[in-house]
């Protein structure tokens, strides 16, 4: 009744609709971003008990990934090195650095160093390192340029979408098996004009058929 509703009320419904549309859009976008691994994980860079710099160890000293993560190409699980491994060098180098106290303590007593866990897949998803690094998937594909990180941070979302993207098109992301542990190496497909063909040949010859059905990762 027009005695109840002012004239301005006539534009209100339209405005409300506009607001609702905008609000719904923002809410959707917010949820899609903030509730996905892209937000919840990427960038996670916790403070570790020992300020270990991958950049220093890889770029300056030239260690191979497998020096420490020695079982990455044998086991599903990429092991974190024991303190013993650290002490191979650090019994000599910086032997008394206070920063290395937890490592020395661990090596001495056998108590583990409580490294904060960064890269993880959910409980029900099974990821196997050996299956990937032996067949041309470089560390860098999932972990980012760890070789340049002073503090390791979670650089890829590691969501199912992320995994599936590569499983659908492995040729675009594979490296020469020799380059798997060289995080600066280019992907096969990026190597010049013949690159993609080499990659496709690799996929064909090695019978690289990453599973896209549930059983590949969920057991």
């Amino acid at each position: 009744m027009s005695k109840l509703f002012p004239k301005s009320a006539n534009t209100l419904p339209f405005q409300i609709v506009i607001y609702l549309v905008v609000l719904a859009g923002i809410a959707t976008a917010g949820v899609t971003y903030y509730m996905t691994p892209k937000y919840t994980r990427v960038g996670y860079a916790p403070v570790q008990p020992v300020p270990f710099s991958h950049a220093q160890h890889v770029q300056e000293i030239g260690l191979d990934c497998r020096y420490c993560h020695s079982n990455v190409d044998k086991s599903g699980h990429s092991n974190i090195p024991s303190a013993q491994t650290c002490m191979n060098c650090h019994s000599v180098v910086k032997a008394n650095s206070p920063l290395l106290a937890p490592v020395r303590e661990s090596a001495e007593k056998g108590t583990p160093v409580p490294w904060v866990w960064i890269h993880t897949t959910p409980d029900y998803a099974y990821f196997n390192h050996a299956a990937h690094v032996n067949r041309g998937v470089s560390c860098v594909e999932c972990h980012g340029k760890v070789n340049e990180m002073d503090v390791v941070s979670h650089s890829k979302p590691l969501s199912m979408a992320f995994c599936i993207e590569c499983h659908r098109d492995p040729a675009a992301r594979l490296r020469d098996p020799k380059d798997v542990f060289n995080l600066n190496s280019p992907r096969l497909a990026d190597k010049g004009p013949e690159g993609l063909k080499t990659a496709q040949k690799f996929v064909h010859d090695w019978k690289v058929t990453p599973p896209q059905s549930c059983s590949g990762c969920h057991r």
Partner: protein, 1122 residues
């Protein structure tokens, strides 16, 4: 591989006060137990690390597990930690399991095993294939025994009069005993131990007896699984025991012997029996089993001719069979022959059959039968030429001076026992009732009890010292298998609660200061290996192989002594004729609980009895005839559209009348279950239930039958039944016993009948195609599909006349399975193996009664008697219970349909196919509509109605008011390769996809290393499903059907291979090989068709099409066969 990181750290409080399951390093230093790990890693070098070096090495080892974190770090997610080894352990690669050889001791034999460990945590046991007679099989109990290791209710601390004592105090107590009795040469000291086959224990006991010659060493086992030595002594004049070679036996007579399940060596027997029974092609021979039994055992269920007879009448039967096989002895045997209601023709034809296969026939008698029967059976075996062929005799190592529990009881009564050491066992629960053991034990001044659980025996006397006994997976030890081969018992983990082994106790009392159980074993083994063998090499080899080569005693030649047997038989005794008022009572070891030792094992409690299908309970089993006489036969309904149930079900729960059983004035009460196939007036009373002092699982499950059992009638007695008028609910997992004339299990006789009907295997090996809807319907795969090879079919999925086409299955493998119904003995080992492998929870009796058991594989048991009524509305035939049933067993699990009906109906794509033909189940996608379970024609999908893993089974209905979480100890039992499912999701058999995936990955890694990266096909035999691996009869074959030479392809190529419910066109990847029966046409109880086939014909073949030629003709036309 990753799950191990998810064990949350024990809170600080827990670490300080609660049991520390994973020892800290300090403790590690001071305990010798963790060396187990060492030996496994460096079998060769173990020796050099003895003593200080070894300790030093141990010192630097850190627990490999990682701890989950506490608290939240910001809003992202909980902060968790990765805890690496402090020092690397050589050979241990986190994420890869290792397997070590060990063995599970069972009374006087043992089951050699391989234990799969994940960073020092055993999670799964498999049979050790190095032990040839078992061929890598493990029994139901062996599969389940790993759960006992992680039993939260096991004894967790040494106690004295209920108060915790330290290990040092225990040592002190033992040392005191040793010192106190040194002077008296052991007078006043008594031991009561379990039977054991361990050479080390034998050696230690000898040393003990040498030091304390006046002490009493008694051994007691409530149930017997080996033939009495007295029989061999009488028959052969030697202490020998029979070792059977069932594989060589073409004709077998079992006299009340359940050699496939409860007798010693059952795994070897089952494997041998299956070899003689497996028929892959027409020319393969098939053995024939005659079973004479009072109960219905798994062995009886496999019988081609089955005779129901009271156990008390077995002597008479044996005498008649002996007379029939050895005419010369007739006169001497006549006095022992009584009228027991068995037709002479039956015995004569049976005997003729045995004699016709001289040298390839075998007669076995049940261990519980008196020595007289065994002696006669030895005679028969001699007569039919079995000795030296199908049965051999090996000498028994007798320990002189071993006393019995009765003698010990007398000694206690006489007041001559001051200190009693009870090693294992549970006499207060299972000693013969007439001994009044609990009271006796109370009268002994000092009792030291070595027990795994705090049980009735611990509770029986006040001041008892309870020493925690180590689980065999925590112990060093040894044992002999059924043929005498020595096998190691090797620890997989440091004793979780500081348990000790019997050997350590005995050694300590003998006076050894620091008994080291590894050293004790090493000494024995080195001694056994004979001169010239170096200790370290022997041990290394021994531990690596899991068997000590050539340690089995050689069979000895035996000579049958008629006189000895005549003496043993003595004067003939009259036989009792049983009736409803005076029934024969048989006390039998339960299929799962054994004598009660597994009472707190949830997997076993929940596993249904293979015959009765009752879980969580035992019941007094009575025959349908006796039930009628007792007036408890279920009434059924006026229109019986299906066969009448064998029990009354109210709201789907079996409601059993509770009876009082009186044996010699002693009374027990228990629910009565009607069991077809029993001797009319024999009641079967399974032991092992009704535990009053045990853990939460076993307490008050079932009723205790021991109080009715006296030392003069341990196995067979007579008694009376009276109805108490009350009822008890039983958790029966299979309500209906009849196949209803359906084509589910397709059976045929091996040999043609006298008047050939085209239905026998020899006449038509593809007989399965003449049964079922698909036998007279157009082919589901169409003419195009019929022309394809199985490999093409697996990939292309021809759709026949369907408008739809299936996307191609383009995986490198196509997985499939074949189950041979002809050899499956229904032992349930697969059920529990699957449970252990796949983290399948138990749900408790209440939930099983509702029908919510979670087993991914189950054994369906059907009876048939050929009496079913063909008409739709039923008839008189439907109203009777079978007295002489034929039993058909069928392992049923997800059959991985290519055109899976469950997948179609899932709204969220939680269950879809992978490209290798597996019907996958993504738990994390599942929202739990349960539509898939409804649409599964095989009903093999299981739903998590509650959070079985996180809640206590008695608090399921309390919701959030109940505790949440899994005990640490229980978590350790979980397989890290398999998701633990939460409530609200569906689950089912995955073909052990974790094994498949890991094998594929390992193969790829290996091939890449070897420079053959394109070889991605896993060789046949690499992957074994858990059920397949443990199956003692090799009934299950799994593998790649894309490879025409794989075992599974060959199994599927058998002409009798068929798909259950094939007409539904769901194309199961698991197919079944039809069951064959091999009755003797000359026998008076010969039936030309298996009962199930008769019932099928009655239900499905119109009377005009007599003799069922119609479906046969159709099938023939379709397949173009025969």
């Amino acid at each position: 591989m990753k799950r191990k990181f998810e064990h949350p750290a024990p809170s600080e409080r827990e670490q300080l006060t609660g049991p520390a399951y994973w020892r800290s390093l300090d403790e590690l230093q001071s305990t010798p137990g963790f060396r187990a790990q060492m030996e496994r890693e460096f079998p060769e070098g173990a020796d050099t690390l003895e003593g200080v070096d070894r300790r030093h090495f141990m010192k630097i080892m850190a627990a490999s597990f990682a701890l989950g974190g506490a608290g939240l770090a910001g809003c992202r997610r909980p902060e968790k930690f990765i805890l690496p080894y402090g020092k690397s352990v050589e050979g241990v690669i986190p994420g890869l399991p290792s397997c070590y050889a060990t063995a599970m001791p069972v009374r006087k034999w043992a089951i050699p095993l391989l234990a799969e460990t994940h960073q020092g945590r055993p999670t799964k046991l498999e049979g050790n294939a190095s032990f040839e007679p078992h061929g890598g099989a493990a029994s139901l109990a062996a599969q389940a025994s790993i759960l006992d290791l992680y039993d939260p209710d096991r004894a967790t601390a040494h106690t004295k009069a209920g108060a915790t004592v330290t290990r040092e105090q225990v040592d002190q107590i033992l040392d005191t005993i040793s010192q106190n009795y040194a002077a008296t040469q052991g007078a006043g000291l008594a031991f009561l131990a379990e039977e054991s086959s361990s050479p080390t224990r034998r050696r230690l006991v000898a040393a003990l007896r040498a030091k304390f010659p006046r002490s009493v060493w008694a051994e007691y086992e409530p149930v017997t699984d080996e033939a009495p030595i007295a029989a061999a002594q009488a028959a052969f004049g030697a202490a020998v025991k029979p070792v059977y070679h069932f594989a060589k036996a073409k004709r077998i007579v079992s006299i009340d012997a359940d050699f496939l399940q409860t007798e010693a060596g059952s795994l070897a027997h089952a494997r041998g029996f299956a070899q003689g029974r497996r028929v892959a092609k027409k020319s393969d021979p098939m053995n024939r089993l005659y079973a004479v039994e009072s109960g219905l055992t798994l062995t009886g269920s496999m019988a081609d001719h089955r005779l129901r007879l009271s156990s008390s009448h077995m002597l008479s039967f044996a005498a008649r069979l002996a007379a029939a096989t050895y005419q010369q002895a007739v006169d001497q045997l006549v006095p022992y022959v009584h009228e027991i209601g068995v037709s002479q023709a039956w015995i004569n034809e049976c005997a003729n059959d045995l004699l016709a296969q001289k040298g390839a026939a075998l007669v076995v008698a049940g261990a519980h039968l008196p020595a007289e029967v065994h002696a006669l059976v030895y005679g028969i075996n001699v007569a039919i030429g079995a000795v030296g062929q199908t049965v051999e005799f090996i000498p028994i190592e007798t320990t002189p001076g071993v006393s019995t529990i009765s003698a010990l009881a007398t000694a206690i009564k006489g007041g001559s026992v001051k200190t009693l050491v009870i090693l294992g066992g549970n006499p207060a629960y299972n000693a013969p009732a007439d001994l009044g053991w609990a009271a006796l034990q109370k009268s002994v001044g000092e009792v030291v009890r070595v027990g795994y659980h705090v049980d009735e025996t611990t509770a029986a006397s006040q001041g008892v010292v309870h020493v925690v006994r180590a689980h065999y997976l925590e112990s060093w030890g040894d044992a002999r298998t059924v043929d005498g081969t020595v096998v190691p018992v090797q620890p997989m983990i440091q004793p979780l609660f500081g348990g000790l082994t019997d050997n350590e106790i005995i050694a300590r009392i003998t006076g050894e200061k620091t008994p080291d159980s590894y050293a004790l074993v090493a000494t024995t083994i080195t001694g056994l290996a004979g001169a010239g063998a170096t200790a370290e090499k022997t041990m290394a080899r021994f531990l690596h192989d899991g068997v000590l080569a050539k340690s089995a005693p050689r069979p000895v030649a035996v000579r049958f002594s008629v006189n000895g047997v005549r003496q043993l038989l003595g004067a003939p005794k009259p036989v009792i004729q049983f009736s409803a008022g005076n029934v024969e009572v048989r006390f039998v070891a339960d299929h799962k609980m054994d004598d009660g030792r597994f009472a707190n094992n949830g997997w076993l409690q929940e596993c249904p009895d293979p015959i009765t299908k009752i879980s969580w309970d035992n019941a007094i089993l009575v025959s349908p005839r006796l039930a009628k006489d007792l007036n408890i036969e279920p009434k059924g309904s006026a229109i019986q559209v299906a066969r009448k149930e064998e029990a009354e079900f109210t709201m789907g729960k079996q409601s059993a009348p509770v009876f009082e059983l009186t044996v010699g004035g002693r009374k027990i009460r228990g629910p009565v279950h009607i069991q077809p196939g029993l001797a009319n007036y024999t009641v079967i009373v399974p032991l092992g239930y009704g535990r009053s002092v045990t853990g939460r699982v076993g307490k008050d499950a079932g009723f205790n039958a021991y109080p009715a059992r006296a030392s003069d009638a341990m196995h067979v007695a007579s008694g009376t039944l009276t109805n108490t008028g009350t009822r008890a609910l039983l958790a029966n997992t299979q309500e209906h016993w009849s196949m209803e004339g359906r084509d589910i299990i397709r059976e045929a006789n091996y040999e043609p009948a006298a008047t050939p009907d085209g239905k026998s295997y020899q006449e038509n090996p593809a007989f399965v195609n003449t049964i079922g809807m698909e036998s007279h319907a157009p082919s589901n795969i169409g003419p195009v599909g019929e022309k394809m090879t199985p490999q093409e079919r697996a990939v292309q999925i021809p759709r026949g006349n369907s408008l739809y086409s299936t996307p191609k299955f383009d995986g490198h493998h196509q997985w499939g399975m074949s189950i041979d119904l002809n050899t499956c003995i229904g032992c349930n080992a697969c059920v529990v193996a699957c449970q252990a492998e796949n983290n399948i929870p138990i749900v408790g009796k209440e939930q099983v009664m509702r029908g919510r058991e979670m087993h991914w594989i189950r054994i369906d048991r059907y009876y048939s008697d050929g009496q079913i009524d063909g008409s739709a509305f039923g008839g008189e035939g439907n109203k009777m219970l079978p007295e002489e049933p034929q039993i058909s067993l069928q392992p049923m699990t997800c059959v991985h349909c290519e055109l899976a009906p469950c997948e179609t109906v899932c709204p969220v794509n939680a269950t879809v196919h992978d490209d290798e033909g597996i019907n996958t189940m993504a738990y994390n996608r599942c929202i739990g509509t349960r539509y898939c379970a409804n649409n599964c024609p095989y009903k093999v999908r299981r739903f998590n109605f509650f959070d079985w893993n996180q809640r206590k089974l008695d608090e399921l209905y309390l919701g959030p008011l109940a505790d949440f979480g899994t005990p640490e100890l229980v978590k350790m039992a979980k397989n890290p390769e398999v998701s633990v499912r939460m409530r609200g999701v569906m689950e089912k058999c995955t073909y052990c996809v974790q094994r498949i995936q890991n094998a594929k990955i390992q193969h790829k890694v290996k091939m890449t290393r070897e420079g053959k990266p394109g070889d991605v096909r896993v060789p046949d035999g690499t992957i074994k499903a858990a059920c397949e691996q443990t199956c003692p009869v090799g009934a299950i074959t799994f593998g790649d059907i894309l490879d025409p030479n794989s075992a599974v392809s060959k199994a599927k190529a058998r002409e009798q291979d068929y798909a259950v419910l094939g007409y539904l066109n769901v194309r199961p990847r698991t197919t079944y090989s039809g069951k064959l029966r091999n009755p003797n046409p000359k026998m008076p109880d010969y039936k030309p068709l298996p009962h199930s086939r008769t019932e099928y014909d009655r239900k499905n073949v119109p009377p005009s099409h007599d003799h069922g030629h119609a479906p046969a003709a159709h099938g023939a036309a379709k397949k173009g066969a025969h």
